[in-house]
């Protein structure tokens, strides 16, 4: 709570800007806090308060500052429009109408968000079956093996003699890019919640795939996109998608800050997604 805000009576606002998820959140807060009639917003006052609140935003990320400034501009414009004399006979809408509509909409979203958060918490108290591999049917040895010696022998003939010096002849030279592996990991994790690291390698034979997948894994954890977990040394290495804020404990949830926007915004730069 900014001590500076406790000066004027009508500007008596308890605003700490980075508590807010964005300009709509801030606006909603101002209106709720002062018990303002949504259908009759004192636009001059709110504009003043809004500007005051975002004054100290210098240290904020430029992106989100821009969003607040955009809203400030909208407020100022509405204020100006309200000062214009109304042309008689013209069915002009109240300049505030759109803002009101957005506020109501946003408020409802916030309410829904809270409900969903509760559902999420309830669901988190239930645990699904831990992943355990399906037990194989009784002795696999009893399955008829169709492989013939001819096949084995053919494979033997194709074995390459390793050269005693230098290992580079092993690398069959198809370039394998790390980005390709990054995509593989993310694509896979989009389908399943987590995967054993070696599952990512399973389809590939060359060691270079292993190296690049591993590097991609490191890169993704550096980008904070994935998390890797091992239950014990030398056990399987599990790869998970990382959440923006990790496991939301109670204390983490209270301050709703704009952090994710920042982090995620940076991520967005790598994105090949549709631009604007």
């Amino acid at each position: 709570m900014s001590p500076a805000a406790s000066l004027g009576r009508e500007d008596l606002l308890l605003v700490e800007i980075d508590r807010f998820q964005g300009p709509m959140d801030l606006l909603l807060h101002l209106i709720r806090q002062q018990d303002i009639n949504i259908f009759d917003i004192p636009i001059a006052r709110i504009t003043k308060q809004f500007l005051l609140a975002i004054e100290g935003m210098g240290q904020m990320e430029l992106d989100s500052a821009g969003e607040f400034i955009e809203m400030a501009a909208t407020l100022v414009r509405i204020k100006a429009q309200m000062l214009l004399p109304q042309t008689p006979g013209e069915e002009d809408e109240d300049p505030r109408a759109e803002l009101v509509r957005r506020l109501l909409e946003y408020e409802q979203i916030r309410e829904i968000t809270d409900r969903m958060e509760r559902s999420e918490a309830d669901r988190a108290r239930r645990f699904r079956k831990g992943y355990l591999p399906v037990r194989p049917a009784p002795a696999q040895e009893d399955l008829p093996l169709e492989t013939t010696w001819g096949e084995v022998f053919q494979a033997a003939l194709e074995v390459r003699n390793p050269e005693p010096h230098g290992g580079d002849h092993w690398v069959r030279l198809r370039p394998i890019s790390m980005e390709e592996k990054v995509d593989l990991i993310l694509d896979t994790l989009r389908r399943v919640s987590r995967i054993e690291f070696r599952g990512l390698l399973a389809p590939f034979r060359e060691k270079m795939h292993g190296v690049m997948t591993f590097l991609a894994g490191l890169e993704l954890s550096r980008r904070r996109r994935i998390r890797m977990r091992q239950t014990a040394p030398f056990h399987e290495l599990w790869v998970y998608l990382r959440e923006d804020e990790g496991e939301g404990s109670a204390e983490e949830k209270t301050p709703r800050n704009a952090e994710e926007e920042t982090v995620a915004g940076a991520d967005g730069a790598h994105s090949s997604e549709e631009g604007t």
């Binding site: 699904r128 831990g130 923006d244 549709e274």
Partner: protein, 220 residues
């Protein structure tokens, strides 16, 4: 081998919810009805035998989950995988997508007042939303919708399981009597109207009577 045993084995081995149809694939003699029957039997058995887990309906399918009261014990184990919670911005964005799907990025950004590129990506990476098509307009923007995984994460049986908007206390609106609305500026076309007729079916619903500002209320 009894049918409910097969269904149980399948549900037990899966770490995600399975629909009756999917379960039925386990065996030729099974069909959706038989699966439904088996599920009812199992449900009763787990209850009577006081198992620590129960068979619940989630994400348009079925899943065996531990009962909530065991959570405190399970949370002590590192070998028990936990689903991690979403951040505030993610939840908020997801709420918008859940109720307004299919929806494009600009609409989401307009409602929240902040950029959404990063959050959308995060939600996609987590498999909670997906691109479901392309909208009209410049650049034919991608439209997003929620996935089955979304339902799973929140434990909703289906999109119908989302909190009903009628039940929500809307503080702001209660402060004033609803008023007849005039023509809205074009910018919000297709944007806000259906919010008040939240259509859990996922399609853009009809605009319902929405309150707005009257001309004569300009008294600032």
């Amino acid at each position: 081998m009894r049918q409910e045993q097969i269904v149980e084995a399948v549900l037990f081995a899966s770490d995600a919810p399975l629909s009756a149809e999917e379960i039925a694939r386990a065996d030729e003699v099974l069909d959706e009805d038989a699966v439904g029957e088996a599920i009812r039997t199992l449900r009763v058995q787990y209850q009577e035998q006081e198992r620590a887990f129960e068979l619940v309906e989630v994400a348009e399918g079925y899943q065996i989950l531990t009962k909530p009261e065991f959570a405190p014990y399970l949370e002590r184990f590192d070998t028990v995988p936990r689903s991690s919670r979403l951040s505030g911005p993610s939840l908020e964005t997801l709420a918008i997508i859940a109720y307004r799907q299919p929806i494009d990025r600009l609409e989401i950004e307009y409602i929240r007042g902040v950029g959404a590129v990063g959050v959308i990506r995060t939600l996609q990476d987590r498999g909670l939303i997906e691109a479901v098509g392309r909208g009209e307009g410049i650049g034919r923007p991608l439209l997003y919708g929620t996935t089955r995984r979304f339902l799973e994460h929140f434990g909703f049986a289906s999109l119908e399981g989302l909190p009903r908007p009628e039940d929500l206390p809307i503080v702001l609106r209660d402060r004033a009597a609803p008023i007849q609305r005039e023509a809205a500026p074009s910018i919000d076309d297709g944007l806000g109207d259906d919010l008040f007729a939240l259509d859990t079916g996922g399609s853009n619903g009809q605009p319902a009577g929405e309150p707005s500002v009257e001309e004569d209320e300009l008294n600032e």
